[in-house]
């Protein structure tokens, strides 16, 4: 069973931008809106040095970390190109124009 949390509407996130979400007991989550109006969510930490991905430049379905310019795929959280590492993803679904994200399962919260 998944806990779906309503975090707002598509319009709350700037196009090619991101907002953060704080949920008690969880790491900060970054919710991204891409140029084609798709929404993705990742833990707001670059796998490299934990840079806040929510502040990066969103291009295609990727974000460039603001600290050292690693490119992270929004769908998988995986670092692109020569860099290696992965940021945990958070499941997202749309209900009309409302954005719902899945609360990480307790067993996986530590993963």
């Amino acid at each position: 069973m998944t806990d779906w949390i309503d975090i707002g509407t598509l319009a709350d996130i700037p196009l090619r931008g991101a907002r953060t979400v704080h949920i008690a007991g969880e790491r900060e989550i970054a919710v991204f809106r891409t140029g084609d109006d798709q929404v993705f969510a990742l833990i707001n930490e670059c796998p490299h040095k934990k840079g806040p991905l929510s502040q990066g430049i969103v291009h295609g379905h990727s974000v460039a970390c603001p600290l050292h310019n690693w490119t992270i795929a929004l769908k998988t959280g995986e670092a692109q190109g020569a860099d290696k590492g992965c940021t945990p993803t958070v499941a997202v679904r749309m209900d009309g124009d409302r954005i719902l994200i899945a609360r990480p399962e307790p067993a996986r919260a530590a993963a």
């Binding site: 975090i7 953060t20 502040q55 430049i57 291009h59 295609g60 460039a64 998988t76 959280g77």
Partner: protein
């Protein structure tokens, strides 16, 4: 368009009326729209384009694509469109009829017809069977459960992507080339992957034990579970796959099972038609089957006892086949194959026979810390096999020596160190290395293009990498041979290739200068417009080109262009400097480095109120407040604004600071009012966006306490006036300024400064500081524009001041008043619903 071809060609159409539907040519029907079938047709067209009328049947509802590139599609590195070999236009342009999504079900050799699944019957004069191979499905219980798939075509990739979208566990049965590429892709797509391999060594047909172990360790380090020596007993699940049970009782849960244990030639059609079939369809050296009217090519054939499951033999077979069809009869002699694993970051290469045996000697190099393992197997002074792990740069060279059966006795001592050493002279020029390859050495494995073909295509006018890719397809697929192709370009064309300017970024083939020129020439007004008109290859650019385009438009259209905040680096969007922990540092402007009690009190209050852990005096004579949270920035700015301070732009590609010394007002050596001039300069230049950061200093005498000679623009006061210096830089490569000129009044110093900045703004490339810009264009050029051209200088100055009239609003004030609160506040979860 379909019509029947008559065997008595042309006999009943003799009344001098053009009959457009009459096609008197022999009809070649190809069964299979894959790599072999289409390659055979390509080879045929290259020899004699008009000779045959061609119809191709394909089982899949697609145009011809590169099957070996399915792995990068699965891994998300390519899209389907990017792996298409021949698009719909190719079929149309060559008059080929493609019947896709309707496989041939029966061959009638007596009537010389084929019948498709949908019931379509087509007559042939020559038939080419290129049905490839089918995935081998191990006969275990549960093999037909939904969720158990193979990895063979685009449909399989779509099924895997769909499963990966739901996440969870995947099992890949088979630790060969295909299985490992599937596992890699699924793992990149977020699934937890277990690979089950029957043998003790991964890729045991291509790798020896040592390389297999290195590969296994590397994959495990990436989070995959690899079970070798594991025998699948059954696949279980209620109505859908739920897991895999091994013979030793282990149980691995999975919502997706990919069966990748091997392939077998797809021979059913040929067998049913009564053709001679062993493991594959039997063919002679011209790829002709037991029926002279029927040919076969690719993975479905058996030639001289060999069946091939790799792509390289296809190229050779297709050449011989096309030669035969055009009466040249070269004859296929079998292929030696090499293998490369397409898993990003893991370099694995193998070729030939490395099983050892009588008379074989091994030459081995291991470098544990670099993770390199190389083994070359030599017999009678000739290379018979090679396995490379971690460093595969010499794979092509070993393979070339192997195929040509070259005697290596003379270079044997150095053989294992690679071509560079073996050729003598240590580090060999990579261009010499590629020049030394034989003409038939294969450069592009994905598309089967030899060195000779690439050289030929370059000599016929393909003068760039893109042109080579478009003409002969070398390096157009996985790109791993790009460096080789580039080296070939410079070998053939000389140094002119190297001199070609760098493009702005990977999204475009235009340079910075091209883009700027076109923005102005075509009066472009927005980033999407630039990307559209200049054929950007990505939907919305990347983190390199977006900030550059935003700046170029801003510079070209002052007051008119609407700044795109999402195309700015975080610091320019947040008007503060991001730090490694995600907090920000805030630097208020202190004009010319001067401050007063009110400003200092306000800064002290902010530090206490927001618990800033550190305050630091910067190199540019400002105070930097560290550790401010993004949410608090607007409130911090409001407090600083209240004391009369504005943004210091310490974060921008913009005017940073004007540093001054105390000058004639206090200093016993001072010659002019350097602080006063510094304040005036800063008041004139603050807020302007530039290609890169820009620093100014004003020193009151030649002792130069403000260090003006390592600034972008430096003023050194002397008794008789002001020396103006440009292009200095601290940083990694220290560069002292060039003297631009000497002027006699403060106003002239200000005017020259404004003109110089505008010249830099208009002509330097984005992220190019004044120092490299001046190195590039020469200080004499700058002098010719600023010092020797009075009217030009005045025009530059006027353009700068016009642009400044739109820029000197404090960006902090509007944020403090509430603008763009979304950039500073998190979203608030409003409801929690369980499902």
């Amino acid at each position: 368009m379909e019509f029947q071809v008559r065997d008595d060609s042309g006999t009943d159409a003799r009344d001098d009326v053009p009959v457009p539907f009459e096609d008197v040519r022999e009809h070649l029907v190809v069964i299979g729209n894959g790599m072999a079938g289409c390659r055979a047709v390509e080879e045929l067209l290259a020899r004699d384009a008009g000779r045959y009328r061609v119809t191709i049947f394909g089982a899949e509802p697609h145009v011809n694509y590169n099957r070996i590139m399915l792995s990068p599609v699965l891994a998300g590195e390519k899209t389907f469109d990017q792996i298409v070999i021949n698009d719909a236009a190719w079929y149309a342009d060559n008059g080929i009829e493609l019947i896709a999504g309707d496989p041939v079900a029966k061959i009638d050799r007596a009537a010389k017809t084929v019948a498709s699944r949908s019931g379509r019957t087509v007559h042939y004069d020559r038939l080419l069977i290129a049905t490839g191979s089918d995935p081998f499905i191990i006969p275990v219980p549960g093999k037909d459960l939904p969720g158990v798939i193979s990895f063979r075509d685009m449909k399989d990739v779509d099924a895997m992507l769909e499963a990966a979208g739901r996440g969870g566990d995947a099992v890949v049965i088979g630790g060969g080339l295909l299985g490992l590429e599937a596992a890699h892709g699924l793992s990149l797509r977020g699934m937890k992957v277990t690979v089950i391999h029957l043998m003790d060594t991964l890729m045991e047909r291509q790798l020896d034990e040592a390389a297999g172990w290195l590969l296994k360790s590397a994959l495990e380090a990436r989070g995959q579970t690899i079970l070798t020596g594991a025998n699948t007993a059954e696949i279980y699940g209620e109505g859908r796959v739920e897991g895999v049970r091994l013979k030793d009782g282990r149980d691995i849960p999975a919502s997706l099972v990919v069966m990748a244990v091997g392939i077998r030639p797809a021979t059913a059609l040929a067998r049913d038609a009564g053709l001679a079939v062993n493991r594959g369809i039997l063919v002679d050296d011209h790829m002709v089957t037991s029926d002279p009217a029927i040919l076969a090519v690719g993975e479905c054939v058996e030639h001289d006892g060999n069946v091939y499951g790799l792509v390289a033999p296809l190229w050779d077979m297709c050449r011989s086949l096309a030669d035969g069809l055009t009466d040249r009869h070269s004859g296929y002699r079998g292929s030696v194959t090499s293998t490369k694993l397409k898993v990003a970051g893991l370099d694995v290469f193998s070729a030939g026979d490395f099983s050892g045996g009588e008379g074989c000697e091994d030459i081995v190099l291991r470098d544990a810390s670099r993770g390199v393992y190389k083994r070359v197997v030599v017999k009678d002074d000739r290379i018979v096999g090679a396995v490379l792990y971690g460093d595969t740069a010499d794979g092509g060279w070993y393979f070339d020596l192997l195929r040509r059966e070259e005697n290596i006795a003379d270079i044997r001592d150095l053989l294992i160190f690679g071509q560079a050493f073996a050729a003598g002279g240590g580090a060999l020029d990579p261009k010499a290395a590629v020049a030394a390859l034989s003409d038939d050495a294969e450069i592009c494995g994905c598309n089967g293009v030899s060195k000779g073909q690439i050289v030929d295509c370059i000599e016929k006018g393909a003068g760039s990498l893109d042109a080579v890719r478009a003409t002969c397809k070398a390096s157009a697929s996985c790109g791993s041979c790009t460096v080789l192709v580039e080296n070939l370009l410079s070998v053939v064309l000389g140094e002119e290739v190297k001199a070609s300017p760098k493009t702005l970024c990977k999204c475009t083939s235009f340079t910075h200068d091209d883009v700027r020129r076109e923005i102005v020439a075509q009066s472009m007004r927005s980033i999407p417009e630039v990307m559209q008109r200049l054929h950007w290859t990505t939907p919305d650019g990347c983190a390199s080109c977006r900030p550059a385009l935003n700046y170029y438009l801003l510079c070209a259209l002052p007051g008119d262009y609407r700044d795109d905040q999402q195309s700015r680096f975080v610091n320019e969007r947040m008007h503060a400097n991001i730090q490694k922990d995600g907090t920000y540092s805030v630097v208020p402007r202190m004009w010319g480095g001067l401050t007063n009690p009110r400003e200092l009190r306000a800064i002290a209050d902010v530090v206490e109120k927001y618990n800033a852990p550190m305050v630091k005096v910067t190199g540019g004579q400002r105070l930097d407040i560290f550790g401010i949270r993004g949410e608090d920035l607007p409130a911090v700015w409001a407090d600083l604004n209240a004391a009369g301070m504005v943004s210091g732009h310490a974060y921008g590609k913009s005017l940073r600071t004007v540093k001054t010394c105390v000058g004639s007002e206090w200093c016993r050596f001072g010659t002019q009012d350097s602080t006063g001039l510094g304040v005036k300069t800063e008041r004139m230049t603050w807020g302007s966006w530039m290609p890169h950061k820009f620093k100014i200093a004003v020193s009151g005498c030649p002792r130069n306490c403000a260090e003006a000679t390592i600034k972008d623009f430096g003023i050194v006061c002397v008794d008789s006036g002001y020396e103006l210096h440009v292009g200095g830089n601290g940083g990694i490569h220290v560069r002292a300024t060039d003297l631009l000129c000497k002027v006699s009044t403060e106003q002239e110093a200000l005017d020259y400064c404004a003109a110089f900045i505008q010249l830099y703004r208009e002509e330097a490339r984005y992220l190019e500081r004044t120092a490299p810009w001046i190195e590039r264009v020469g200080v004499d050029y700058v002098k010719s524009r600023i010092v020797e051209d009075d009217a030009g200088r005045e025009a530059l100055r006027a353009r700068f001041l016009y642009s400044q009239s739109f820029c000197q609003d404090d960006p902090w004030a509007e944020r403090a008043a509430g603008a763009r609160a979304d950039l500073h506040q998190p979203l608030h979860p409003i409801a929690i619903a369980a499902e």
